[in-house]
Amino acid sequence: MRNLLFQQRIAITTFAILSLMIVAGCYLFSITLSKTSFATGTVLLISIFILASYQLRKKLSILLIGNTSAWLQFHIFLGLLTSVVFLLHMKMQIPDGLFEFLLFLNYLTVFFSGVIGWLLSRRIPHRLLSRGEEVIFERIPLHRRKIHDKVKSLVLESNASGKGAIPDFYDEHLRTFFEGPRNQLRHILHSERHRHELSQKITALQPYLNSQEQAVLQQISEQIQLKDDLDYQYIFQAIIKLWPFVHVPLTYSLIIFAVYHTLAVCAFASTSG
């Protein structure tokens, strides 16, 4: 832990020093009456390519080209550093041209999706560990189906004809709950209101049940807990799995836009003045 704190301090200090150096370098360059946009743009384009190569590193896991964790640390560091270069490149202004504005938006979405992904990768593991059984994401539907089947058999067990307090309760309040992932937003917001509501309904039903039915309802309650935990696991695992599908395609579009922008600038703009 002490080592981690030390590493973080080193990274923050290096980031601050490099940012200052970039700002100072940009200022000094501007004194020479050169266009700083060319310099910052070149740095930015190279940085984007380096940042995108992280995805390639993940594919080349068998090659001895450094640990992926070291690459990720560098990816985050460089990604944050590009924001400084980007601001200098923009001269702190929102571009007025349509294409430049789209490029601007594209960069922002890539940058912020990266930051959000970074925060999610720090936060979600802890939340996944805090509740429910650890289940492989691809197996969650199977587990959900098993729970649903168990509940259906319990409902049938309570009353073979399919009529009665528990079957009615199941049809009214539980069928949709067990059919698929539910209450996803509530899980994300850490709300347990849906569970309280269900448990209140179960409590309200109990006076109308005989002892056998009460035992069945108790077992159904346990399955509700299991299913809810599974939903919790499902939504957070889904977020962390789906997040790259936002960040990576946006990166590819950013590369295309940036390359086009560079070609256009090189073709039509002067490098001095």
Partner: protein, 555 residues
């Protein structure tokens, strides 16, 4: 074995020297010989045991001569001619081409590699089985240093009883006849032989050949004078604890997690007793526990080569009054240990302190380092779980810190890419605190999967210590998979490049092979799973390295 053969064996040494009256009526010596012993014939060059294999039987030479290789490392018999897979590390280009050369079908094997047609070793069908043999024995004798074993001598008994690997390769020099006795047979004979001649023989062999070198692995004995070492070697006692095949009940214990394992473990030194010497573990693992309210709390464990009881003797030397053990030592599974008597330990300490006062920095360090050798953790509940579930067996235990793991499965993908698109572990397993121990090979210090492998296909790589499976010699018997208490070995149907199942040419039954994690032995940079984890969540721990264990489970 026929009754006539048993009769003739009982009339000749070594069995004629054993008193049959000491044996139980239900298990007489005659029955042990009948059930656990067989006479095996060997032709010139036949390999009987290979260095590094796990042995479960010992051999007694009836006729003919054997040759045992003497040198290790560069001058030892090469792995290829012993029928062992040579671990060749892939080049950068070979690794890169895996990206597009990997098969899309699962578990594809080259038929040639399964049928051994391209094998560099020689095998033949003889004496009712397939044997690997050395083709030109005279050339081997010229090239490599060997010693002759003659009729009346035993070999392989130390490895069979100690559950350790064979230390040398033995092959037949000319036609020979051996008596092969299973470890169960040796165990029963040792247990009931009143005169103890066989036991004495085995102990003497170990004393003569290996004890001094074994003791010197510990810093305490490294500075011992030759005369003192000689006396230690003569006076050391050998002890065995636990059931040899304890992995079978352990499998049941794993299924029933409510049962406590420590209650059944044989106690080596009880808490509160005065130690009669220091215990040094030869093979197996030992638990150190302490009384805690009405139960016992695990506070550490010992691995082979580690010592227990030295602190108490050191305290006794200082205070000049006997010091009782503050902790209890018990055997986890099967354990072999040596006991060095207190008087001799006191002599070593006296000798070391005199050399310390004369300024030997090395001795100073060695005494200090022997104080507390056991692996300890601040979180004793986690430690207890690791010991109870036998994860402490692992020399390369895969651990995933779930507080860091994003469940991205990059580790599984990297494993699959490395192994021709076949992942060799499942990211699923028991969770202890925030640590998941996935379903992957632990590369155990006591690899019970290697016991009973009929072809020696599963073996420990001598260079790196990993347990690996040789696809060329694996016959798919599933013995290793059923022995593994962690279910880390999977039997798979093997296929050709087109995806068709490879079948036995005679029975037409699909051929299966055992698969498991091989720590990416053929890749540069070690396990791909570990390198592929972007969050440093997956790591491997040698559970016998106290510093690494403490560091890994620190948070």
């Amino acid at each position: 074995m026929t009754d006539e053969m048993v009769e003739s064996l009982l009339k000749a040494p070594p069995f004629s020297k054993i008193d049959p009256s000491g044996f139980k009526r239900s298990l007489p010596l005659r029955d042990i010989l009948k059930n656990d012993v067989r006479i095996v014939g060997f032709d010139e060059g036949d390999i009987i045991v290979r260095r590094g294999d796990w042995g479960n039987s010992a051999f007694f030479i009836l006729s003919g001569n054997m040759r045992v290789e003497l040198e290790k490392k560069q001058t030892s018999l090469p792995d290829e001619i012993l029928g062992r897979r040579t671990s060749r590390v892939k080049t950068f280009w070979e690794s890169l081409t895996q990206l597009w050369n990997n098969n899309s079908e699962p578990e594809v094997r080259e038929i040639a590699s399964v049928s051994s047609s391209k094998a560099t070793f020689h095998s033949r069908n003889t004496h009712g089985g397939t044997r690997i043999y050395l083709q030109e024995v005279s050339a081997v004798l010229d090239k490599y240093r060997t010693a002759r074993l003659e009729p009346g001598q035993w070999f392989g008994e130390v490895a069979a009883l100690g559950r350790t690997s064979r230390v040398a390769t033995v092959f037949s020099e000319g036609v020979s006849q051996l008596l092969e006795i299973r470890w169960q047979g040796i165990r029963d004979i040792l247990r009931h032989d009143k005169e103890g001649s066989l036991k004495q023989y085995i102990e003497d062999v170990f004393r003569e050949r290996a004890l001094s070198a074994f003791l010197r692995t510990d810093p305490l004995f490294q500075a011992c004078q030759p005369e003192l070492m000689q006396r230690i070697v003569e006076q050391v006692e050998f002890h065995t604890f636990g059931n040899y095949d304890s992995h079978k009940p352990f499998k049941q214990l794993l299924e029933d997690q409510n049962q406590k394992t420590d209650g059944r473990e044989p106690v080596i030194i009880r808490e509160g007793d005065y130690p009669s010497g220091i215990v040094m573990i030869r093979s197996g693992l030992a638990r150190i526990s302490q009384r805690h309210y009405n139960g016992r709390r695990t506070i550490g464990y010992l691995s082979p080569g580690q010592i227990f009881g030295l602190d108490e003797i050191q305290a006794e030397v200082k205070s000049l009054t006997p010091v009782a053990c503050q902790t209890q030592l018990s055997a986890i599974g099967h354990l072999n240990a040596v006991l060095v008597p207190t008087t001799l330990v006191e002599e070593i300490l006296a000798q070391n302190s005199s050399s310390k006062s004369s300024g030997s920095q090395k001795t100073k360090k060695s005494i200090r380092s022997t104080g507390s050798q056991s692996v300890k953790l601040k979180d004793d509940i986690l430690l207890s779980q690791l010991v109870d579930r036998h994860f402490v067996q692992g020399t390369s235990l895969m651990v995933i810190d779930l507080d860091r793991c994003t469940r991205c499965d990059d580790c599984v993908r990297a494993c699959a890419t490395t192994h021709d698109n076949n992942p060799r572990f499942i990211r699923h397993g028991p969770i202890l605190n925030q640590y998941m121990i996935p379903n992957s090979c632990l590369h155990c210090v006591d690899p019970i999967c290697m016991i009973e492998c009929p072809t020696g296909a599963i073996f420990r790589d001598l260079a790196q210590g990993d347990i690996i499976i040789n696809e060329q010699t694996c016959i798919g018997c599933a013995q290793c998979a059923s022995n593994c208490p962690f279910d880390a070995i999977r039997m798979v149907d093997i296929r050709d490049a087109k995806g068709a199942l490879i079948v036995d040419s005679q029975t037409h039954a699909p051929l299966t092979q055992a698969t498991k994690c091989d720590l990416c032995i053929d890749q540069r940079g070690g396990p791909a799973c570990e390198r592929a984890c972007p969050h440093d969540a997956l790591f491997r721990v040698d559970m016998h390295d106290a510093t690494k264990v403490e560091g890994a489970f620190a948070s």
